[in-house]
Subunit: 438 residues, 2 copies
């Protein structure tokens, strides 16, 4: 026992020495190699124990994180094999982006695991500061849900669904949500004094994050690689930026002349050749979830006869009118020459009749306030303002009236009057979530 | 003086007797004729004085109103001449509707005048109950602003404006607004103890209402009659119901086979013949307001190349996209087969990418809550529900998410997700009116 302690004490001293060297300005690469050798000589199971003792002895979070980086480098080299995959795609290719994010996720999951597992050994200030660090780490990890997972769910999965591969996306999404829920659970726990629970949930979360990396690297990404055409990856690349990334910025080296193909344009069924190239893990997953593998590709055409092509979709004129009528707000649009062009139907706060179509807005307003209307429109046209908000009390209701400059690529198209009764909205408190619906 | 008093006492006694007779069930027409003769024998200036004394002596408001009715009949017969005009148009013709409402307005203005002028002579309970009656009268009169005046401003005026007759509508609208403002002023005053002011404002309001009837009956309506074609009156008739009426319900006797003509379809300039037929009052009003009479008809075409015809207007696809993008809410539409068809662009709370277009909504949701989504859609499709509201806290904001069934003539077209950040709305207090804008 004392031998073991001595031995660990020795290793700790060695690690502290390494940390000092990193700060001393010695050749960083050389120190890092030396550091890795020390770390390699310690059993992976022992590392968290030593790390948590270092934390207890006052080694700063930043230094521990530094050590973690090096630790993760070892992990990466030996375990993930992701580097090899990454190298297959030029920077900017959506698959490279996904693999690169997963390297970051593994690193951060490791850090989470380190802090979570060290927690129970700490007391007093060290405990409090570690909890604070842990909270910061989890908040940072939540971004994975908004970016990496969200891109997969919203951009990548539809391409598989069109080919009838619904089960695998559904399983991954469910697991994403479990991870998201566990992040929230951990954040809610963190100010409790239930340190054992915090430690357990933290470690469980870390292992789920790493498990997800494994599933993605070994199932999802190889499947996308086998099935998707260059045009599909091009379309994915064009959409990816809208959602954003976890800790990386995709490069621009990958160029493609292919025509972007949206999921709703996909007519491909999976070929026998593709089926044979799919990762074995996927086939197993499919068998587990579906009994046998029957694919029902989705060949539905998006565009219908009479559809109007809009920036983000296709609607029939009747649908546009009905949507604008059902919205719990009233809108009226005047064009760039101040003429009334459109107002929404349905139940309105301020009644409008079609007789005002084409009418200059100045003639639709009480003469007393026309000069203000003109001032606002002037400010919109000059680009000095984008909106003007008003609110009034009317027959016991509170009415919010917003004038909004409507522009396309900076060009002024007109102004929108956007009016709503906010009386009930003002009273909303607490939460009512989808799962509460009855 | 005492003779005058006696004389008035006598008249009062006579009036009281008449009121009793009205209640006694004697032949009403006969009593009314007798009543009219008594009233005619009293100077119009003296009537309010006597009426207010009757109020002070405890004659009930209902009886006074009854007397007022008869009083107004006299007024109508001798002064307004409206009956003659009314008879020119079959029930349901928009001009008849307007004239009929003006008969009601005169009657109610008379009642207002009676109560307002009697106020200063009253004390205690009689005063308080008269103030309460007055408040009810003014609240009733406010409906004129939402109906009779509003129809003129929104439906009738555009037909004159297209012909270049802008000044007269503007003058009338300004006066409508003065009346509306005076109604609000009176309502605000009514719980003060400034009885003199209440009385003065009430009487002034009554005389403005009557003056407006005069202007409309003698200027606006004859002008509409001279200039507008049958198709234009047909279109007016079709819109009038949307705004509603003051105390009357238009009949259905007037039938027209003409094609309805909206203001934006009017290409007519005023002919020499029409000009000569316009009411003299109008010509004077125009000269006063414009120096000389130069008309600039508005011949602008409403519909442009590429315009999509919607229920209430015409928009270009780019305008539709830009309007939906600038709205301070996010919308996503799924069709009747649950497929995503459209989402609004711009800054969004929940990011969407075009890859979800055509995707079944069930695949766009966390698997955990899909069963609720399906329940809601089921209730929409069966017509059992029209909406489902949720609200959640997200990164310090409060997000309201509303699902709305979109229908056209009862047929289910799809569902709209309508999402907004209500954090700032919840904080809105007081009023910020157009005239406060800087």
């Amino acid at each position: 026992m004392s031998e073991l302690l001595d031995n660990r004490e020795m290793k700790k001293e060695k690690l502290k020495e390494m940390l000092k060297k990193l700060h001393s300005g010695e050749d960083e690469e050389k120190v890092k190699e030396e550091f890795k050798n020390v770390l390699r000589s310690i059993s992976p199971l022992e590392i968290p124990l030593i790390e948590q003792e270092l934390v207890a002895e006052g080694v700063s979070a930043r230094e521990i994180a530094r050590m973690c980086d090096i630790h993760v480098e070892i992990f990466r080299e030996s375990v993930s094999g992701a580097e090899k995959e990454i190298a297959k795609f030029p920077p900017g290719h959506p698959l490279r982006t996904l693999y690169e994010e997963n390297v970051e996720i593994i690193k951060d999951a490791e850090i989470l695991n380190l802090y979570a597992s060290s927690l129970l050994k700490l007391k007093g200030n060290a405990l409090q500061s570690t909890l604070k660090t842990l909270e910061g780490i989890v908040r940072g990890l939540k971004v994975i849900g908004y970016t990496h997972y969200n891109r997969e769910e919203m951009i990548d999965f539809p391409y598989l669904e069109r080919r009838g591969l619904n089960a695998v996306p559904a399983v991954l999404w469910r697991k994403h949500d479990e991870i998201r829920a566990e992040m929230n659970k951990l954040l809610n726990l963190i100010h409790s004094e239930n340190y054992e629970e915090i430690s357990n949930v933290g470690q469980d979360l870390a292992s789920r994050l790493i498990d997800m990396v494994f599933r993605e690297n070994n199932i999802l990404y190889p499947t996308l690689q086998v099935l998707l055409s260059e045009g599909e990856f091009k379309a994915i690349r064009m959409q990816d930026d809208e959602i954003g990334y976890y800790k990386i910025k995709p490069g621009n080296e990958w160029k493609s002349e292919a025509k972007p193909i949206m999921p709703y344009e996909v007519r491909d069924e999976i070929t026998a050749e593709q089926l044979l190239s799919l990762p074995q893990h996927l086939i197993e997953e499919m068998k587990k979830n579906m009994g046998d593998i029957k694919l029902h590709p989705d060949l539905r055409e998006l565009r219908r006869e009479g559809d109007i092509e809009l920036e983000n979709g296709y609607l029939l004129p009747d649908e546009i009118s009905a949507i604008l009528a059902i919205m719990p707000v009233d809108v009226t649009f005047i064009d760039s020459e101040d003429r009334v062009r459109f107002f929404s139907g349905g139940e309105r706060i301020f009644t409008r009749t079609n007789t005002v179509l084409g009418r200059p807005v100045q003639l639709c307003h009480p003469p007393k306030s026309v000069h203000i209307v003109n001032k606002i429109l002037q400010a919109f046209k000059k680009g000095e303002r984008d909106k003007a908000d008003f609110w009034i009390d009317m027959q016991g209701r509170k009415i919010l009236i917003q004038y909004l400059a409507v522009r396309k690529n900076g060009k002024y198209l007109g102004a929108l009057e956007f009016t709503q009764d906010i009386m009930d909205i003002k009273k909303i408190e607490g939460e009512k979530r989808l799962l509460d619906w009855k």
